[in-house]
Assembly symmetry: D2
Homo-oligomer: 425 residues x 4
């Protein structure tokens, strides 16, 4: 960033070349255990086929990097922009989201060829080294974009496989529980006051993390770990899903309309519960952080525990010094697990995304990027809630303490749980 | 409030007696121009029949005041708690909201008798003067509750009458436009900083306005008046409803799904628009504040004007010293109108509720009341947006600068418009 | 009918004048026990408000009789054709059916004035005696049309009142059970062969009853009475609503989708059932003919009884000599009741409409009338099933043995039951 | 059939062995041009994935033939009965129909192994020659069942491929139009009278074709060929889809609700239309029989042509002597084509299924088979219409003049068209 935006930056291009190769390979590795049929299906409108993710992330580079940097290089297929544009109105019309699973053509093999074609183009362009800073910024955005889709590949495949009464596995060879004990739920007091939140650094961050700004917090306490499966099992056992006083009104309406009786992927097993995982159905580990909860459930569980969800500013204040480390994708578990208990708030990163009570909204002074990429984040800033911290599906290199994830309050197919907070006055 | 909660407070009882009579009479006056049939219908699940409003507000006093203060006094009808409980889970089961319009019995005459029965009971109890402070607090809450429903009577009747192709009037005798000119849109700069928001006084406020707390604001500018019909007409004329770049993603989806092409109640008329009002269809007054906009539309119109919606804290900071005065229900217009232009932000109260970009959420330290009345506000704190300032349907005695109204972002049948803001850094 | 169609027919005009007055009065008598609110509501899209029935039947005379006979006589209101046209595309656009209940204006009083206005016009025209045969045919059609709506007033009011948890009565003074015993289910053998069905006479019949034509029937047996509540109670007790082998596939899908566990209007009462009637909730009379069954339920009950539904030709062959008499509207019961047992098939007319297994289809050689009145019947000849015999809600003067009623197979709010048949070879 | 049902019948077993092999091979040949992904998708609840068809037809033999004949032979997979039972309630619970497309496991390769496993079992059993007549009857039913699914494979694949904006082909090598001219629409007079319909022979027929019985027909005329694309194009050009007078009421409601403006698979092309076929999009052949019409459209087109649809008895009377020959699956066209004009009614078999105006209902004396196979046809006998004659997707060996196909009146994805009739009195 010492360079001007328009100026070629060979060193950064070389670094990004390596990162590009690694990220693109990582996506294919996630898809590798799956058959062409597994990669074809779309289990619900919110999810996408794996094959579509493979193509869409490729289109992102073709559309926003290659076709701008090398406008005369032919596109792989004249209709792929229509098929694989997700939601960029400024780019043009596109295939309807709920119908992505009907696209049996291009085949998986053709999508692999599409990836190779675009990878070759990006590689040559990077190797040529005439890339300006603005162009490399977009490439870097594309890598973070692809990492977001890596997490979605996992959440969407898990959901798709769960639709099958055979409860098949993505990979049957994943490790089991960590063996650590959750221990009692402890809280750490934090002073609040005038804090700074949001990204103010020179490195990559999404536009929604900016600008860095001040916020005033009252003193509060934050739990030392996420809420465990054992605590949610107690919520279930004590009738939590049938007690309206624990729920927001919209939440209890969702419970009744959808017949929720436990977190998604829990299935009765003897007197207790088993849990569907990417390795198939396994006994529920009561010590591990609870996952696949909607905001509505997280909010109700917090109330059941005599606590509340933190705001995103509280969460960020607590996490501001912390290292981005934990049970993330690199750990290869692809499932939350219990950690040895820590002093301060621990397990802030990894295991499960943590619902906050903060609505996803623009930070003061937020301005989306001009053009189509301004649609990346800003146009979703209503009716969703912020989650923080990353999950066992998230690559470590994708995260920051200022990272803002966001979903609708009824979404359960993400690897999302909660950490509770309390007022201190 | 110098008294202890349990202690009788004769003076306050006498004051509330007068206010009780006035508020109850005011409700009936709103219904008076309507036939029994007009008071029967429910035009959509979000709206309720006028007759139901008349009975429900009465049930509120019977349930939360009379049956607690005088537990041996017989209820008017053993099933009315089932029919007229709106959403209080702690009180018991209730008639489904979308089916309120099917209750042809009790008749309007019986509901009038119900009101008289409960009014007599409350009157006798107040006159007896043995009312504790906590009991009077609930009575006062009941009066503010009834005033909220007065506004809903008007919004719901307007919506119901609009369903009729004859476009009938509630009262054909309402005054027309004020004749004032909107003038150009000016902004007032405000310094921000650490401000206090929320109610901290001794008088009545809803629990959602509390506790008073600190918030940090960046410098901002606020428009001197609400956005006018003329400005929205320009938005329409310039294709605003067809330009996705002006909308939040959910908002544009709503536009397409519901076929929105103009604000609710606007109807093409010659080259321009007419507008349905409580006095029937009238020419659109381009100088008056625009109304019956959803949050989605308000947000898009703000973007069209190169501005944004304020946060509720910004709004409250701007309004903190202001007197609660303006085109409110007492003015008898029952429709927004243009005002003579002012120096500071004017028309903060009355005319139209002003959408903010703030999600409706608990203030730091918020605690709902114990028992059923804790359901009054707290359980709705998700997925809705805050509106401020009151409308031409709101009684002045119902408002405060800290007052928080809230609706879902797609709601258009409320008398809601917008005032725009800008960042100053 | 000795006259030519265009020629005035004073005698017929005089007869129809009397009948017109009687039919119009009868409709008002059915509405008389109901408040304006009762007459306002629409409980589902299939039903209409009583007030709408009052206006629509009036519009029928204004549109098809008065405005043709006296084209210069002003219409009562220029928009009533829009509001009260039911489905005549050739007449012009109209208010959407599911939104009839939202028309609070015109008020009931205005609709009464509309009736008086049209009645006066028709009366004067008939008295003047210059009515041609074709015009009188349409008037007579209008009278039968109004009688059809008399039955609908009762079925729709019953449905509307049932939506109210108070279970209010239309008229609390209706007589109770007849006290007769249903007796065992006997069958009468009928020879079949080449029979004639359909109307071939000179009197009034709907176009769908024509032309009279031949049909070949195998020998069959027909039950001597309709299926009783006792028999349906046994169906319920033996798990009939949970046994797919008794149902058509679409029928069992309806059972599951709508949670049917008993006929409409049955409510558990002690170990048995009570039944909602136009006089409020009463104990179920096990000897009375079962009512408020869909075709799906009728078909399943027939199968449960080791029998089947008759075809409409079988029914008509059995009824061809019979007198139109029984528990019809004139009996003033407005509810099915048990009859003393008879030799041949008894209770063919009245009590309950009897579902046949015949799809509603055009008779060979059927031709609808030209113009708008051709829409009266013909355009509904798909996906519905024929019912025969009339009910306790049907006026005797409205029926013939050739009369074809028709409803969709899932309709339950009509006073419909069944009579079973068997093959004899 | 000279044998008793329980007795082994070696000659018939040998014949069926050959037919079994041929039918099973034919199914695989239809699937062969498709990728695993193509065979995975389900484009709508009415359609099924090709892979599912492959497995379901196999399950039919495993369930109804093998597991009865050789009860100790292990099933291929313990859960396949759950996954691949279509609708047989008597066999047990099953995977929901609209979710068949989500079953990515078993993979296509596993389904092929399932087919081979069951084929081997059936082959060995047939070769052993100890098969009773009743068992062979069920085997033969299974072959006709599989042939029905062969047609569904084609209709479902066509529908699935059409969802893709790339409009891909099943097989790009199919022949084009025949080059014959449709010629003017001529009618053949038929005498009617007392006719016999239904199957009365010793060969295979479905239970719904029985018993053979008498029906009386008025004299009528039947068109010499199906209605052509040219005639439907004229219907479209003259506003047929916007003229309510041409439609049944339910039909016009469907037109409006679904936005129909032309037959399914027609797409505007220059001033005319192109048509999606199994070979991709091709110019519309105006001389070929029109296809992919719903009953509603067929009925409206008939009315537009001043005619009507025939009853199924009329159709069968006209076809009773005719040879089953025409543009059937064996022709390898897989698309309707124009034929040289004939004297009598021609093209009765093949090209397009012909909608009749007859509701699908039990013949007099119809009795379904006992047990689960009684569910094959009988439970669908409501709300559907009969089609006759087979299509370009139907194998010749599957048809008879008495064959009754049936679909709901709004179904358009079948290869269905119409032939018109007229009354002659
Ligand atoms: Fe994306
Ligand atoms: Fe309320
Ligand atoms: Fe009518
Ligand atoms: Fe099948």
């Amino acid at each position: 960033a010492g360079k001007r935006r328009g100026e070629p930056d060979r060193a950064r291009a070389a670094t990004l070349r390596e990162r590009f190769d690694a990220v693109r390979r990582a996506t294919l590795a996630l898809a590798a255990p799956l058959s062409p049929e597994d990669q074809q299906v779309q289990s619900m409108p919110d999810a996408s086929p794996v094959k579509w993710h493979l193509a869409h992330t490729t289109w992102f580079f073709e559309e926003f990097v290659l076709s701008r940097a090398l406008p005369r290089r032919p596109r792989f297929h004249p209709r792929f922009a229509y098929l694989f544009n997700s939601y960029y109105e400024a780019v043009g019309p596109r295939h309807e989201r709920p119908r992505r699973g009907l696209l049996t053509r291009p085949s998986l093999a053709e999508v692999h060829a599409y990836r190779a074609h675009v990878d070759a183009g990006v590689g040559e362009w990077l190797d040529a080294g005439r890339c300006g800073g603005g162009e490399l910024d977009v490439l870097e955005l594309g890598l973070h974009h692809e990492q977001q889709h890596q997490e979605l590949v996992l959440t969407d495949v898990k959901h798709a496989l769960f639709q099958n009464p055979l409860r098949p596995a993505w990979r049957a060879d994943l490790p089991g529980p960590s063996g650590a004990a959750a221990g009692p739920l402890r809280f750490e007091a934090l002073p609040g006051g005038l804090v700074e939140v949001g990204d103010g650094g020179a490195g990559f961050a999404f536009d929604n993390e900016r600008p860095r700004h001040r916020a005033f917090l009252e003193p509060f306490a934050l739990a030392a770990r996420p809420v465990s499966n054992g605590e949610v099992a107690e919520f279930v056992a004590e009738g939590g899903y049938r007690r309206p006083e624990l729920w927001l009104s919209d939440g209890f309406a969702a419970v009744k309309a959808r017949g929720w009786e436990a977190p998604l992927y829990w299935e009765p097993d003897g007197g207790g519960f088993a849990e569907f995982t990417l390795a198939g159905t396994r006994p529920l580990d009561l010590d591990a952080p609870a996952a696949h909860l909607s905001f509505f459930e997280a909010d109700a569980v917090a109330r059941f525990l005599g606590a509340r969800l933190p705001t995103e500013e509280e969460w960020e204040a607590a996490a501001s010094g912390a290292e981005v480390a934990g049970n993330l994708a690199e750990a290869g578990r692809y499932h939350p697990c219990a950690a040895a208990s820590a002093d301060g708030p621990g397990q802030l990163f990894g295991d499960v995304w943590e619902w906050t009570r903060s609505a996803y909204a623009p930070y003061p002074g937020f301005a989306p990027a001009p053009g189509a990429l301004g649609e990346y984040n800003g146009k979703f800033m209503v009716s969703q809630l912020v989650l923080r911290g990353g999950s066992a599906f998230t690559p470590a290199s994708h995260l920051r303490p200022t990272y803002r994830n966001f979903f609708y309050p009824d979404a359960r197919w993400q690897l999302a749980g909660l950490r509770v907070a309390k007022d201190l006055r």
